[in-house]
Symmetry: C2
Subunit: 505 residues, 2 copies
């Protein structure tokens, strides 16, 4: 490596660009495989994606990368970096340390294990057979416990896992936040259950022409400020958002012919993710920072647009007219009240991804508590199904009939993604904090929504959150935007007000 600063910087940047380009290429191939690839292309494509991913990964943990990191961490070199390069360096170091602290052969074993575990999990879920998956899960948990020793920890061991997905998050904070939130939500759900004023949803369960649904989703996405010159919408079994840089951020959805809600709200959800990615500063294009700062902050945006905007009465006070224009027969004579209450039906359910705004967080808390217990020796994998059922009964008042609709329902654990689940609930919490801050700074918020003018809202979020990409941590963003750290109170207030209205509590 050249020892002069400028030369070394230049070759580091070239190295990083190549790594990022290969990684983005891999994303394009993934998108294509999910959307339009002919089925006989599967094997070859898996091979090509594996090669690109492996190459990008190899570069992120190579000795060369290690040398660059060491060089630019030397104080006299570090001080000469600009703010972007300093943040890039920190991000590279994070990934590098995560993998290099683990002995290479252990890490390889783990990669093989999780690859195998995912296909075993699929079968186990389909046949609701936990015993099939159990030995794999035990090993994955065991290895992650070892990893925590390699990575190190100060407070709770589980903090190390949380930190990867949501920098700055700890068990101490989550116990407090989730503890308060749970009490409120369980009690609110109880009142909702007891309310005699149930919303009616039949109106959404008619035939809605998929082509018309697509048109309506695009109409709403445009109103949100999603830029179709920098994106496109396609159809897949599982909706997702994927970015190849701010100039090309794509989303997918799924049109259910007999349900109006599914495609629309998933479009707004993925659209929220996409607005984040489309509005990252051009300064960060092609760098590792050109991405949302954390899972939690990213999820706050999908939830903000799907729920806080998309399921609000104010929003539909404007857009119901357009919905009726798109589906005049289905929505003939529907009132705003009826429509609004219908899209906000809440009820206890077994499956996380089908849960509503109110019960969703309770599903997350169950997973959080189980993960925490697993890594602190308070729960063994063999007792997982029982622990799951108990918590479901306690928080939601329902119990799975089998593990397929219980502790086997999510893919995350088969890939070793422990510490990921809390991000979803944090996203909900953050989104309510952002709403509160936005309304204070932009008192016209409600009138904008009532006029169907969503661009000022998108612009506010872009200016305050989106543009920074990974240049700021979740904590920095929260403190700057909301003026305080993570706080579940705003979500409680928001949900209480909403469900009091919807269920006439």
């Amino acid at each position: 490596m050249a020892r002069d600063f400028q030369g070394t910087l230049q070759s580091f940047q070239q190295y990083l660009r190549k790594m990022q380009d290969i990684s983005d290429a891999s994303s394009v191939l993934y998108w294509d495989a999910r959307t339009g690839m002919p089925k006989k292309g599967v094997d070859r494509r898996s091979q090509v994606i594996a090669t690109l991913s492996a190459e990008a990964f190899r570069m992120s943990i190579s000795d060369e990368m290690g040398n660059y990191i060491a060089y630019f961490l030397e104080p006299e070199n570090n001080e000469k970096l600009d703010d972007i390069m300093r943040a890039v360096l920190a991000e590279c170091k994070k990934e590098y340390d995560r993998s290099r602290k683990i002995p290479a052969d252990t890490f390889e074993e783990y990669v093989r294990l999780t690859a195998k575990a995912e296909s075993v999990w699929e079968d186990a879920k389909d046949t609701a057979d936990f015993s099939m998956f159990r030995p794999y899960l035990e090993q994955i948990v065991q290895m992650n416990a070892e990893f925590i020793e390699y990575w190190g920890y100060t407070g709770n061991k589980y903090d190390t896992l949380l930190e990867y997905y949501e920098p700055g998050m700890t068990v101490e904070k989550l116990d407090r936040i989730f503890g308060d939130l749970r009490k409120e939500l369980v009690s609110l759900l109880q009142r909702v259950k007891e309310s005699p004023h149930k919303p009616r949803t039949k109106i959404f369960e008619q035939y809605f022409d998929p082509a018309k649904q697509r048109e309506f989703s695009i109409y709403i996405l445009k109103k949100m400020g999603y830029d179709f010159h920098a994106g496109r919408i396609d159809e897949t079994v599982h909706p997702f958002e994927i970015s190849f840089g701010p100039g090309d951020v794509r989303i997918t959805t799924k049109y259910l012919p007999n349900d109006f809600r599914s495609a629309l709200f998933s479009s707004m959800h993925e659209g929220g993710h996409a607005l984040y990615e489309q509005n990252i500063s051009e300064r960060l294009i092609g760098t590792i920072l050109c991405s949302g700062t954390s899972m939690g902050i990213h999820e706050s945006q999908s939830r903000f647009w799907e729920n806080i905007v998309g399921r609000s009465k104010t929003f539909w006070s404007h857009f119901l007219k357009a919905a009726i224009e798109h589906f005049p027969e289905q929505f003939r004579g529907v009132t705003l009240e009826e429509f609004y209450r219908g899209i906000n039906e809440a009820r206890e359910s077994l499956i996380r991804i089908e849960a509503d705004e109110l019960t969703y967080n309770l599903h997350i808390m169950i997973r959080y508590e189980i993960e925490k217990a697993l890594f602190n020796g308070d729960l063994q994998v063999k007792d997982l199904p029982l622990a799951w059922a108990e918590k479901m009964r306690e928080y939601l008042g329902v119990e799975p009939q089998h593990d397929g609709e219980g502790c086997l329902q999510d893919v995350h654990w088969s890939g070793g993604s422990f510490g990921y689940f809390p991000s979803y609930a944090l996203g909900n919490i953050y989104s309510a904090q952002f709403l509160h801050a936005m309304k204070k700074e932009m008192p016209a918020y409600d009138s904008y929504v009532a006029d169907g003018r969503l661009i000022p809202i998108k612009d506010w979020l872009a200016g305050n959150i989106y543009q920074y990409g990974k240049m700021q941590t979740p904590e920095e963003i929260l403190r700057r935007v909301a003026g305080e750290e993570v706080n579940g109170k705003y979500l409680v207030d928001y949900l209480t007000a909403k469900y009091t209205d919807v269920y006439q509590l």
Copy 2:
């Protein structure tokens, strides 16, 4: 590098797989950029494609590659390779030598020159200003002349350029073949021009719903045996075929609302290329051999399906019914004779890519003779427009009004692709040779076509040509399949019979 044979072979194969995977990934990104990429993705995408292409190229000419080639060329190692690896090695050596024989800085200069030249050519073509392009073309020709010295030559200097696109092809052969062919075609064209029996084409110049055109193209492609589980058809400005391995071979076309012929015949043309790629042996998947053997043999297949099958009377004796079913109003009352003659209209024209089956080869010969003269010192770049006009008058009886429709019409020279043009005419010649061989071996050919049964034809071509990929040279294929080397006689016979019929000569 490990010095034991098995270890070295394994690491070489791994190296090759990675190179091929990166190259295929780059092709997927290219396809996406042409078909559905949002326009703001252009800059970032160019960067990513450039990185992947550069990496695949770097690997193909690296010292590591050089060491592998040297090692496996050693007789005691070479004899232990199987037939596939021996062919792979030859192909790698060809690419390696092509680039490495040229001094690195000269080669870099050339890459920069041609990149710049292409955009200059675009402007020059648009403004019909040859003087703008001339200095670039002079330098490109000059550098290619230098390259020929580096690469070496035995007979004619231009042979070295021909060899790259059509292994085994020489000036000596082409002079003979093209010489005979030209005499026959010029005379046939003369008779066609003089014929009072002109086909009528008005029937094809009505409104044809693009969605219906797409349906009809897909219908015909399926009949040809194009596998939609291993391919798809999209729309682009310039139709093309692209392969990411036999399991995923895509084509594109362009639907002109006011012309029935364009999309259909371009679909059959690209479909012919695609049949070749879809039917390469699985043994070659993921290797450098998984591709058509030469430009000429590839083109023989697109021409075979587009022209020999798609513009034959026998074909339409079956498929006219389907055309009428798709477009009952437009084709009401049309006779087979009328339809067949209409799609085979031939006339002198200025633009190669718009030329018909009869005149197309004359356009190629002009380019061949000019290229040959440029590299043998018989023509200077400055005299090119004049030479072009003279040959156009002599062969086709027309002259361009400006260089935009003359010597500036094709992109090839701006990228330095000298030696490429003859492949197009060779494709036509080969296709007639293959037809002759096929009819001899499969006397039911005509009755198959008349019954709309195209699969036996596809299967015959797959078995005799497609499956081999690059495992056999064009010469080996010709000798095995047609029993002789390249011979223009069959094309002359075929065209004479056809145009005698169409123009009632």
